[in-house]
């Protein structure tokens, strides 16, 4: 502890916490840029990272919606699915609006074009859902979005002729690169770039006056409204914005960047619960915390697929092996659940919150003011003293 205090003091007197934080972020970015160039890394490792980036986008955008704006929605994966399914359907079947005289044929639209249409469609559904949810709060909002999400999943599952049912729907590949290794590298950078862009966009909103109003709404909608905040507008805005982000990410990821097809299984409540769990573990009210929580959790879940324990003292297993191999299957999720329960019980702001707070210097700002809570009597006594 004393050593940490000395380290803390040296940082405060030297480079400063914020600068150190930025330096650390720069190093992390450099690591991710270097990673695919390391010849010893397999395509499988890169695929795990690509999946980690994708879930980091989902989790951080959910953190904006639920952690910052207080809209505890279970519909996030459904919006991701809308983006992906619409992109796939448009690219395969085209679309025609007879009344407007607009007709898009599969031949006339590119993969990127279909992704954009999917994104816009996710935003439109977000607009409708946001509008329907205006008067719903807390548990009612969660129940509504669970129902919406399940309805969408069942629709995708049963409309076999259009969506491919449980076999899923293939989207038009976004990249067409013959060399598998090079393709994986490009896909890696594409998904990493998308994560950076999404995080920048999310931070821009969170740090703007809109972010301030969203947080006010989360704390008390009536009070925010009485302070001049147009709660309806911002509620809809945050739904549309996050729906478009996950719609876009979903459409890109399933355009053969991270996965070659979207399946209804991806829209199950379990998947949504994982997104929430990643955000809770990383820090629901911190966008970078939620993103890091998602990436690290995805990586650990993948790493824990098979646990190998080398037996000591020359012991062997029944089949003569000196190592015990455990295919964890769904047990890894149980361990993950234990971590989440621990987080909710002891560190409600997420496991990464103390680190983020330390680097941001927020704890110093609080120490500089009167951090002790005055009772009304003490406060009144101080006022009297000031008067004298």
């Amino acid at each position: 502890m004393a050593l940490f205090k000395r380290f803390e003091s040296a940082i405060d007197n030297g480079i400063g916490r914020r600068k150190l934080g930025y330096l650390l972020i720069a190093l992390v970015i450099l690591f991710f840029l270097w990673f695919p160039n390391d010849a010893s890394q397999s395509n499988y490792a890169k695929t795990v990272f690509i999946s980690g980036f994708f879930y980091a986008i989902l989790s951080s955008s959910w953190a904006l919606l639920a952690g910052i704006a207080g809209q505890f929605s279970f519909g996030h994966m459904a919006f991701m699915g809308i983006g992906a399914y619409v992109a796939g359907l448009i690219a395969r079947d085209g679309i025609s609006f007879a009344l407007l005289g607009i007709s898009v044929t599969p031949e006339s639209i590119s993969a990127l074009g279909s992704i954009i249409v999917g994104t816009v469609f996710a935003g439109l559904v977000g607009l409708i859902i946001g509008w329907l949810l205006l008067r719903l709060r807390a548990a009612y909002l969660a129940l509504f979005t669970i129902a919406f999400s399940e309805l969408f999943r069942i629709m995708m599952l049963t409309e076999y002729d259009y969506t491919g049912g449980s076999n899923g729907l293939s989207l038009r590949p976004l990249l067409e690169i013959a060399d598998v290794n090079f393709a994986r590298q490009v896909e890696y950078y594409l998904m990493f770039g998308l994560l950076i862009v999404c995080l920048l966009a999310l931070y821009w909103v969170a740090n703007s006056p809109i972010g301030l109003f969203l947080r006010a709404m989360r704390e008390d909608e009536d009070a925010a409204s009485a302070l001049g905040v147009n709660v309806v507008r911002y509620k809809i805005l945050v739904f549309v914005f996050t729906s478009m982000i996950v719609g876009f990410a979903g459409a890109v990821f399933y355009s053969d960047v991270g996965s070659e097809r979207i399946i209804p299984e991806q829209l199950e409540i379990l998947q949504m619960s994982l997104i929430i769990a990643y955000a809770v573990i990383g820090g629901m009210e911190s966008l970078i915390g939620a993103a890091a929580g998602a990436f690290i959790s995805r990586y650990l879940l993948e790493a824990m697929r098979q646990v190998v324990i080398t037996l000591p003292f020359g012991l062997t297993t029944a089949d003569g092996s000196d190592a015990f191999v455990w295919d964890t299957g769904f047990w890894r999720f149980a361990l993950f659940g234990v971590v989440m329960v621990f987080t909710l019980r002891y560190m409600r702001n997420g496991l990464l919150y103390p680190i983020i707070t330390w680097f941001s210097g927020r704890d110093i700002a609080m120490k500089e003011t009167v951090a002790i809570r005055e009772s009304d009597d003490e406060f009144a006594a101080r006022l009297e003293q000031d008067d004298e």
């Binding site: 009485a226 001049g228 009167v370 406060f379 009297e384």
Partner: protein
């Protein structure tokens, strides 16, 4: 001095079979200190909610500075120039004191520079003696400090009419002086203030005009000394001296 013209015309609110507010009419046309009193359940808070846009009237009209505001959302009424506090303080708990001040500042004046709004917030917080708590989360404040923060937020809105719902409730007597000073200073700046209170000492000390509600209806509206002797008010709320 900003324009002041709040006019209620036969405003009513019914919740099922309960007539919470019954054809209330009054107008505020100058920077007055108006006390609003009445027994519990008289309709004071409901009337406040109607004026501030938290509730829609069942019938009647409300105009503020020439604009009809009944049925308009609360944020719109606030921007039109009517600010309010709540009976139970509603500080935005997981936001700092400064952020609490910036919410109305930016909502009211989106094009203003943050530095200017922060300077204004510091000025107001100093007036309210809580400037040293700027970076503190508002949930860490004591009850009295939260009351002051709520009053401070109102000044960021610069409304022409202010409604204070029970500003003295649960507040230390010495802290009441700070709130009383606040009310006088805000009034001197040309604002009309309507305050609801059961603290009769404060009501008669501060009010230039008194409005009395009973069973949702307005039973008296006038100078405090006149209203005090009104038989209807005595029967409904103030009561008779034991000697009488």
């Amino acid at each position: 001095m900003s324009e002041i013209n709040l006019a209620l015309n036969k405003v009513s609110k019914r919740f099922g079979g309960n007539q919470a507010v019954d054809h209330v009419s009054f107008a505020v046309t100058q920077p007055e200190l108006i006390g609003m009193i009445g027994p519990n359940g008289a309709g004071k808070t409901t009337l406040t909610n109607l004026m501030s846009g938290m509730l829609k009237p069942s019938s009647g009209t409300i105009y503020l500075n020439g604009r009809r505001i009944d049925g308009h959302p609360a944020y719109d009424v606030t921007r039109a120039g009517l600010g309010r506090t709540f009976q139970i303080t509603r500080a935005l708990g997981r936001m700092t004191v400064m952020e609490n001040m910036m919410v109305p500042g930016l909502a009211h004046n989106p094009s203003a520079r943050r530095s200017e709004l922060e300077a204004r917030a510091h000025e107001i917080l100093s007036l309210l003696t809580i400037n040293h708590l700027t970076n503190e989360l508002s949930r860490a404040l004591s009850g009295g400090q939260r009351k002051l923060l709520e009053l401070g937020r109102l000044l960021m809105l610069d409304p022409s009419v202010i409604i204070l719902d029970e500003p003295f409730a649960g507040v230390h007597p010495r802290l009441q002086d700070t709130i009383t000073n606040y009310i006088y200073r805000v009034h001197e700046n040309g604002k009309a203030i309507i305050f609801i209170s059961h603290n009769m000492g404060a009501v008669f000390e501060l009010s230039q005009r008194l409005i009395v509600l009973h069973n949702g209806a307005l039973i008296a509206d006038g100078e405090p000394q006149v209203v005090r002797n009104d038989p209807a008010v005595i029967d409904a709320y103030l009561g008779h001296d034991e000697d009488d």
